[in-house]
Amino acid sequence: MPSSRGLFYGWSILVAALLAVAACFVLRGIQVDTNILNLLPGAERDPLIVAAIEKHSGNFSRNVAFLISAPTETDSQQAALRAGQLARESGLFTEIMDRVNESQGAGLYRFYLPYRASLLSAQDSRLLAQHEYGRLENKVLNAIAAPVPGFNASMLEQDPLLLYTRFLSGFAPQAGRLKLHNGMLTAEHDKFYHTLVSAMIEGDAFALDYQEKFQQFYGNLAATLRNEYPAATLTSVGMIHNTTAGTVRAKREISAISGVSMVGLVLLFVFGFRSLKPLVYALIPMNVGIAAAFVACIAAFGSIHIMTLVFGTSLIGVCMDYALHFFSELAYHRPTLSPRHCLDRILPGMTLGMITSVVGYTAFYTTGSPGLQQMALFSSTGLIAAYCCVVFWFPRLPALKTTGADNTSAVLSQKILAFWDHGNKSRTPLALAAITLVTAVGIGLADVDDNIRSLDNSPSRLHTDSLRFQDITGISPSSQFFVVTGDAPEAVLEREEKLADSLNTAIASGYLREFRATSNYIPSAARQRANYQAARAGIETVAAALSRIGYQPEVIARYRALYAKPEPEILDFERWHEAKIVPDLQWLESASGKYASLVYLAGVENIEPVLAAARGMEGVRYIDQVEGISNALMKYRQLTNKMVLAAYALILLILTWRYGFKRAASVLLPPLLAAASAFALCGFIGQPLTLFNSLAILLVLGLGIDYTIFMAETRGDRTVTMVGILYSTVTTVLAFGLLAFSGTPALKSIGITVFCGITMTLLLAPLAKPDNDNAPTMNQYRA
């Protein structure tokens, strides 16, 4: 056994190295991840589907829209142009869309023109295939007769049946209620004109530095518009607003929680130990623990999740416990016991408590969830480091003069002990039965809620803005899409077209308003050939119709010449893709040479018939992000519940090895019953149970088992142990009682659960004391 002196210095060197590494990490810049979804493992195994979902999330999180409203259209559009200009100058965005670019449209027309003989809109394709030439003829007559000089001569000259025009107009979906005017998307609503400027952020919506830049830009934009267009108002929606608000709130809450937690701790030490010195010492293991946890997390994961940091705050409670027990012993036995002896008294409880907690956290590792693994690593490392600090450093700390014990704490502790240690033999079973009954009723009342939307903690201002945006524009964000996969682009396009046919039927039945597929812009070679042959087969009938309409013979001759060759000129995918006709948002190629496309749905009225029609189609998968994530939350809530049970079982094994089954059960019962009562409280107050309640229960176990183990391991005065547990409870509640007031639903769940669970554990802790308890009790504390 190395000397305590050797261990002291050895540990000191190790900690110095650790702090140096931590400092390096901090200086290099730490990435804090605030996306709650990263806590969950990818539910999907197929890497192509995973990539497609990531592409969608990327598109979704990068999109930002600015809607500029003013009493006149001119003001609204001028202000929108100014906004577009500022967005361009900022360099923070790509794909900025304020005013339609004229040359782009002409380029588009010229690009497709050589292939027009084989390009048809879905509807025309069907009409030609079904030989509905009369309807095509009527469409031309209608267009010419309409009181709008829209189709001028040169246009009809190149496209007498208007087939190419309709193919191209298929590129323009209805953008909700927004109409193009002066090249800008504008809507009139409630006597105001609203003009849209949309963009993609050039950065990560979750990255703190981008959020800062965006906030600065947005503040500047609002101020500029206020100055230059006082009548205009700005509404903006986009994930970036939510992530920025989330970061601000998380930062504020974390600093508030640590702040109040610190104030509470100071008060606890002043009243408990009549000195702040123990606090200074107690903070040492905690800070070393957090530093170690932090270093381990960054080293293993490269970044740290905001939820991990929150759990880190909870470490205050756990790491403090060791120090609190140490100083309680010291305070009440100071004249008689040396620090070394005080440590020896609490060492068995500390060691067993640390081991059981670390074992408890191992359940997290098996979930396969990166977020949970991060929390487990953070908590375990922090605990072990804090444990080492207490064991190696405390006995050799410079002389501590604790000036005595606090009477109130001791009296309160004795009262809790006395409740269970009463002469009345029937009190314990009765009390337990009553608690169990109330708990059962509460759990019976509890609801479960796995909907991801319930975890959305965006400020109501953003919610109002997004409703206003949807109200004015008629556009709502979509999380529903199909992923179509294949070994080659042609295969993907052909599969997509099959899907598109069924989606067009769904649109006709009113189940869907529209969809957006890559094959709209580049039909498969097979479809191009089929289009060409269908048009070619009907050439005589069409020519007769064109003649009836009254076209000049040379116009008809030119139309015939388009279909002279037996095979069409095919627009191939590669050429199309390189031309970057559409922003590259819906198409992806995997490293393994497979391809996928996203087919977006909008205005879904009834998804069931749409899915039924698409069922069984090869290479077609339906994804509903909201539903998918909610399912994942449910799966992981259930998994975590199982993990909690597994952890309890593991701990029961360790405890049985040490105490035998009966006492092990009495040590396990208080945290178990306390955890159940925390669920029950949620039932009574109508807070639905989520994954985060389950996570918190694991924490209650980690903390609570320490309480009962200390109680079971006490060799000396049980009151002193109870005082240590009381102080632990107070520190934990200080850390978590505030979480219950958090605006973030996930944190609120954790807060309520831990608050109730840990308080109940305190009250039930005396149940863990040995039956043949005849340890001396100090009687000098009087109420």
Partner: protein, 216 residues
Amino acid sequence: MRKILLQRLGAALIYFMAGAAAAEAPAFDYATAAKEPAPEILSSIRKMQDVELLRGEFKQRKNLKILKQPFLSNGWFIFSRNDGLYWEITEPLPGAYLIGKKGIRPAAGSSGTSVDSPFADGVGRMFSSIMGARLEELESYFDIYYRSLGSRWQLGLKPRNSRIATFMSGIEITGGRYIDTIRIVEGGGDTTEITFTAVTEELPDGLASRYFNAQQ
């Protein structure tokens, strides 16, 4: 929301179509026309602006170079100062449209197919302004020239903005108590002439509201 990004592509189509035409001088004699209206023209136009409801028949003649013969169509209309224009084509193919501030769209229940023209909205608004003789609205798009023809009058409209000029070189409106003809000179020399007959302010009660309210 992201589909707005794709919107640009379709929207851009307008411009190629607009760019495909060349301008030509209209027949209206701008040289002899005044840029300020004579008082009698102005008073005629003011009277027209006061009209609440108007019904009439129309004949449309489109002279397109790509067609061997002029394309003829006819039908009837109701104009309402508040609700815009209901325009029903009876020959050669039935179809009905609502034209007003919100552009042009097929009337509900009409057999007319939707107007695929991307100009539809802007032109619809303009058309509605012409029918109501709302000069202030027209002035934001056109320079207006005035000619007096005894008891009748003529207006010549020249596009002020280049985007309109690329597909329309001018509009000539002839009228007396009401508008008699509208002649739109498109790019490439194609013309559209609309002649109104049997125009009256006398409408059976509720007729107008039947056509406009049915669309709400």
